[in-house]
C-alpha cells in the first residue's frame, strides 16, 4: 500500500526500534508502517470505535480514549522516544497543554496540522469576508471539528513561548507534495506542516 507522503516523511524522522505513541492514530496506518518497516513498538490512542476495531484488526496496540484525558490518565513521564500527532492539534480542547504533555511523556514530538495562513485562506477572509473553506479545511465553520486553527507562524510563536525547540519542519501541499515556493514562503504557500520538536 502507498503510504501518504506526510506519513512517509514522519516515518523517516523516526529511528528504527523506537518506542512511539500515536495520538489520534486513526485506523493505524502510520503505526503499522512504523512497525513493519522500522520495528517500532508502542501504542495508539484513538476515540473513534471503528478506528479502534481497525487497529485491533491490524494487530496494533490501541487504547480507546480521547486525547485530552488519555495522555494524563495513562502515561508516565518519559515513556516514549517519540509522540506523534497527525492532523489532530486543531481539534483538541487544549493544544498548548497537549504539546507540553507530548514532551512530558516523550523525548520528541511530531505534529502535522493544516495552515490557516495559506494564501487561499487569507484571500477568502480578506476579500470574500467569510471563513475559509479549502481542500485541507473542507467544512463550514459551524460544522467542523477544527476548533483551534493556527498558522505556521502562530505555532512557532507558541513553541517559543513554551520553550519547545523545533528540530525540523517540512511544508507540503494538500497532496503532501512540496515545492520550491513552499520552501521559500511556507506560511503563505504551504497547506500542511510537519514539525519535529523537543524540550
Amino acid at each position: 500500500m502507498e503510504l501518504r507522503t506526510d506519513l512517509q516523511l514522519i516515518s523517516e524522522w523516526i529511528r528504527p526500534g523506537s518506542r512511539v505513541l500515536d495520538l489520534g492514530c486513526g485506523d493505524g496506518t502510520l503505526l503499522r508502517h512504523l512497525r513493519d518497516s522500522r520495528q517500532v513498538t508502542g501504542y495508539g490512542l484513538e476515540l473513534d470505535p471503528d478506528n479502534v476495531i481497525a487497529c485491533i484488526d491490524a494487530g496494533l496496540n490501541v487504547i480507546h480514549s480521547n486525547l485530552d484525558d488519555g495522555l494524563q490518565q495513562y502515561f508516565d513521564d518519559d515513556s516514549f522516544d517519540v509522540v506523534v500527532m497527525t492532523q489532530a492539534l486543531q481539534v483538541v480542547h487544549y493544544p498548548a497543554w497537549l504539546l507540553t504533555e507530548m514532551l512530558r511523556v516523550g523525548r520528541e514530538g511530531i505534529v502535522t496540522f493544516p495552515n490557516f495562513g495559506h494564501w487561499q485562506c487569507r484571500l477568502q477572509l480578506a476579500l470574500g469576508g467569510h471563513m475559509p473553506v479549502s481542500r485541507t479545511l473542507p467544512n463550514p465553520w459551524y460544522d467542523t471539528q477544527n476548533i483551534h486553527l493556527c498558522t505556521f507562524r502562530d505555532f512557532e510563536a507558541l513553541c517559543r513561548q513554551k520553550n519547545i525547540r523545533i528540530l525540523e519542519r517540512t511544508v507540503v501541499d494538500n497532496a503532501h507534495r512540496t515545492s520550491l515556493g513552499m520552501r521559500l514562503l511556507p506560511n503563505l504557500l504551504g497547506e500542511v506542516a510537519i514539525y519535529r520538536f523537543t524540550r
Binding site: I56, D57, L60, I63, H64, Y74, F75
Partner: protein, 382 residues
Amino acid sequence: MPEPFPSDSVGLVTPARQHFDQPLELVSGRVLESYDLVYETYGELNAARSNGILICHALSGDHHAAGYHSPEDRKPGWWDTAIGPGKPIDTNRFFVVSVNNLGGCKGSTGPNTPNPATGQFYGPDFPIVTVKDWVNSQQRLAEALGIDRWAAVIGGSLGGMQALQWAIDHPDRIAHAVVIAAASKLSAQNIAFNEVARQAILTDPEFHDGRYYEQGVVPRRGLMLARMLGHITYLSDESMGAKFGRELREQKLQFGYGVEFQVESYLRYQGESFVERFDANTYLLMTRALDYFDPAADYGNDLPTALRRASCGFLVVSFTSDWRFAPERSREIVKGLLDADRNVSYAEIEATQGHDAFLMPLPKYLDVFHAYMRRVADEVGA
C-alpha cells in the same frame, strides 16, 4: 430429524468430567485431596494443540457456555453470543474449553457434592477457594487435555479476573488474555454489596449453618434476596427505566406491600428462578473469591509489578453504563499494563445495559472481540 439449532450454534453439547487425585494446595493453606471438574468443549483441538481457548465463568456461571444440552432447551449456554462457528470465539478455528469452577454447584466438586472423607455433603466444610486456586485447578485440566499453552484465556467479570490471574501466574502457558468488564480488585462498595448478599443467606432460618442439604431445605429467601440485590447492580438505571419504568401490574395503586410495580415482579422472578438453579453455599464462596481477588497484593500492592510477570497480549473491554465494574476499573488495569510495558488494546463500549452488557450481542463489542480473536487465531495457527 431436522437440525433444530441455529447454524452459528455449536449445537448439542455434552458435559465431560475429569477426576484429579493429585492433592491441590489452596491459598488458604487447606488441601483438597481429590476433586472433579466438569467442563464442556466446543470445536476441535488442532494437531499442534495450539488453538485451545479457556473460558472462565463469572459469579453465577457454569461450564455450559454455548450450545444446547437437549433439542428441547429453550436457551443456549450463557455466552452463546460469543462462542460458535463464525462468532468471535470461532469454533471453526478454536478448541474451546469451559469449566465449572471448584466450589461451583453444577457438577464440579463443591459444597453440594459429597466429601469423600465423610460421605456427607461438604456444605460449609468446603474450603474457601480463591481465583488463584481456580487458575491452578484449571491448569491441571489443561495438562489433562494436553494443552501446554492456551491461545487465549477469556472471561467477563469474575471470569476476567481469572484471565488476569492466569496471565500473571502462568506466563508461559497463555498467549493472550481477554479481560472483559472486570477489575484488578474490588472496591469497598463492591465488597459491601457482596456482604449484604451474604448476610441475606447467612441469616435465613433455613440456612442451618450451611448444612441445609441434610435438613431437606434450602435458604430460599436469603438466596433470592442476594440475587435480587446482585441483579440490580448488573443492570443500569437507564436499562431498568427503559424496560419497566414505573409501570404497574394492575391499573391502580393497591396501597399495600405486594407486587405492584413491574420491576418488583421481574426481580422476584429473577430471584425465584435463581434459587432453582443455584446453591447458597456456592454463592457465599463465589462472592468471597471476588472480595479476596487482588493479584497486586503478592507484589507489594503494585499492579504493574504483578503484570510485569505476564508476557501475553491483552484485550481489555469495558462498558460505559457498567457501574458494578465501571470503565474506570478497566482503565486501572490498562494503566497497569502500560506501566508494565505489555501489549494491550482497550475498548470502551457504548452500552446502556450495565454490567450485563458483556453477555449481550452488541455489534461494536462483538466487532472488537472478533477482530482481536482473528489476530489470536492467525498468530497461533488456528
